[in-house]
């Protein structure tokens, strides 16, 4: 009898300990997660309300503000621009990063790797506000650095960069690619450096496969997970893009470079249409959610297996 009681007491003590452990370790994280998802839900609720002035108004209006957005020309310009960002911000960066990382593996000179790493990684530490400031000066059509350099070389520059509505977004994306290239290279490099892959490359080398062939049929198929992570991170960051556009062009000329994120802040804070702004927020979240699903599944498997 006494034995059973002692056992039971021990059991409740163990249970109490594990509950205590659970609280100490995860309570802060859980609290912040609850607040975060709470604000997300709240934002969704605002998007279905009728908040159109400084004072909150939570009258339910259904999908009225989504319809409002879908009838807005600006919204569709934003969607197109965001698509340009998603494709051009990610694809060239990943391709250039794979190429560069492979070139560094093959590099015939010593010391080159740490030089290139420092050289192209430093922008990761800088904010888009600062990169935007310096690049908007580089880009300036009349007094800008690029055109001044071209003029001193005797070239009449045909570029007006971000002042040309037709190509302005591309020049903005270039800043993004410039800033994220170093980040992309080190992620690709680290997925090159697994023992299995090095062995496979060695074997292919012995068999006399050419360098490009090794890259395409040995390396790339075997760094899929690295590419998946990199593509996901770049997709999310190019979807979230706000700072570069806001600093360099403010969405202009006209609305040529406007994206959902800049439209959101103009709608919610300048035009005071909080509900419409919240609706844009929901749309950005849904796109982001779809984009991170593969990444989350991969992370979950990697973490718990």
């Amino acid at each position: 009898m006494i034995g059973i009681k002692a056992l039971r007491r021990q059991k409740t003590k163990r249970l109490r300990d594990s509950v205590l452990e659970f609280l100490v370790f995860t309570l802060p994280l859980v609290v912040f997660l609850v607040i975060l998802y709470g604000t997300l839900a709240w934002n969704f609720y605002v998007s279905t309300a009728n908040w159109v002035s400084t004072a909150p108004d939570y009258t339910f209006t259904g999908l009225k503000w989504y319809q409002y957005l879908f009838h807005q020309n600006r919204f569709w310009v934003d969607v197109q621009n965001n698509l340009k960002w998603l494709i051009l911000g990610v694809l060239p960066t990943v391709v250039a990063a794979i190429f560069l990382a492979y070139l560094l593996e093959l590099a015939p000179f010593p010391g080159i790797e740490s030089y290139v790493r420092t050289l192209i990684l430093y922008p990761v530490a800088m904010s888009f506000v600062v990169t935007g400031t310096i690049w908007s000066w580089l880009y300036q059509p009349e007094k800008g650095v690029f055109n001044t350099i071209l003029a001193s070389l005797g070239v009449q520059s045909p570029f007006t960069y971000t002042n040309d509505p037709a190509t302005a977004t591309y020049w903005l994306v270039l800043i993004f690619v410039w800033q994220y290239l170093g980040f992309a290279v080190i992620i690709i490099q680290s997925s090159f450096r697994t023992a299995e892959l090095q062995e496979m490359v060695e074997a292919a080398n012995v068999e006399g496969a050419s360098k490009p062939r090794i890259l395409f049929s040995v390396i790339i198929p075997n760094i899929r997970s690295g590419i998946l992570v990199l593509v996901s991170l770049l997709l999310i960051n190019s979807l979230k893009v706000f700072d570069i556009v806001w600093i360099v062009t403010r969405g202009g000329p006209g609305i040529a470079t406007d994206v959902l994120a800049t439209n959101m802040i103009v709608t919610a804070y300048d035009q005071r249409l909080a509900s419409a702004g919240a609706a844009i927020g929901v749309i950005i979240f849904l796109i982001a959610f779809i984009l991170v699903i593969p990444y989350t599944i991969y992370a979950l498997r990697r973490w718990f297996d």
């Binding site: 452990e21 100490v24 370790f25 995860t26 802060p28 994280l29 859980v30 912040f32 997660l33 975060l36 604000t39 997300l40 934002n43 605002v46 070139l103 015939p108 080159i112 790493r117 050289l119 990684l121 430093y122 922008p123 990761v124 530490a125 800088m126 904010s127 506000v129 600062v130 400031t133 310096i134 690049w135 908007s136 000066w137 580089l138 007094k143 650095v145 001044t148 080190i186 680290s190 997925s191 360098k211 690295g226 991170l233 999310i236 806001w246 600093i247 959902l260 994120a261 959101m264 802040i265 804070y269 927020g281 950005i284 979240f285 991170v292 992370a299 979950l300 990697r302 973490w303 718990f304």
Partner: protein, 281 residues
């Protein structure tokens, strides 16, 4: 065979030259022009060295002058307070949460992990309106706590995952033997795990620090003159066409100074943090 290795060498050299130009030009222009006088800037010889280094530009950018109406000193102090507090708290709480997620594998931790994974790169636009309302209603918006709270909410998932990624690669044997000796998880964490994980904490701290210091969207939205961060001040400098380029560049360098120095001197930790963010601890 010989010619092939020569083409490779040529390719490497070409790529090196292109990269060097592309990545040194902006920072070179920034540094040299931040040290020039206004007449020198107006000559538009942007690639030339300054005739005499104008360190006064930096004091002008810090404390304001007739040409520069947005002194950066106070925003730098604001950003330091906000970023410092957020980094410390996020690392501490993130370490706790990340450790639990990396050691206990139940359905519950899986659910938390998925929620963290989705929150990890949450677009700020999706939560900004409620955050504005919360901080305005509670009055936190008028002090540094408003931004501190928002940044903590947003950066906790990242800090937890980064710390957890490091803990996953940390050998379990030591902890297991301590557990056999009857130590609780909490004791094990603080006495055994934390002391040997200080480099991991350093990496995560640098990542969170850089991220918060460089954040612009939330800082711009929750702006009050008293708590203006360095990025918002910088954006105002850039937006006002009256501030001359030499002072703009000096202000830019002041803005990126701290994270850039972190990167240059603690590059190893920085890179490890970036890789942990890619789930490769």
């Amino acid at each position: 065979m010989k010619s092939r290795s020569n083409t490779l060498k040529l390719l490497v050299i070409v790529v090196l030259i292109v990269l060097t130009c592309a990545y040194l030009l902006p920072i070179y222009v920034m540094i040299t022009n931040s040290l020039k006088t206004l007449p020198e800037i107006q000559q538009r010889t942007y690639l030339a060295f300054p005739q005499q280094a104008q360190l006064k530009n930096y004091t002008d950018a810090l404390f304001g002058s007739r040409d520069f109406l947005i002194p950066m000193a106070k925003p730098i102090v604001n950003s330091s307070i906000i970023t410092g507090v957020v980094t410390l708290l996020a690392c501490f709480f993130g370490g706790l949460g990340g450790y639990y997620l990396s050691r206990v594998k139940t359905t519950f931790t899986r659910v938390i992990f998925v929620l963290v994974g989705i929150a990890l790169y949450l677009p700020y636009q999706a939560v900004i309106i409620p955050l504005t309302t919360i901080t305005a209603k509670t009055g936190l918006i008028n002090s540094h706590f408003g931004l501190i709270l928002c940044y903590l909410i947003i950066n906790m998932p990242l800090a937890s995952v980064l710390m957890g990624t490091f803990f996953l690669s940390f050998p379990h044997e030591l902890e297991e033997s301590a557990e056999v000796d009857g130590a609780s998880k909490i004791q094990i964490f603080f006495r055994i795990v934390v002391p040997v994980s200080l480099p991991a904490y350093a990496s995560v701290a640098i990542i969170i620090f850089t991220q918060v210091w460089n954040e612009f969207f939330i800082a711009l939205t929750l702006i009050t003159p008293k708590t203006q961060t360095v990025q918002v001040a910088m954006a105002m400098t850039q937006g006002s066409t009256i501030s001359p380029y030499n002072l703009q560049m000096a202000a830019s360098l002041l803005t990126v100074g701290v994270p850039l120095l972190c990167f240059l001197f603690l590059g190893r930790y920085f890179i490890r943090g970036v890789l942990a963010g890619a789930l490769k601890g």
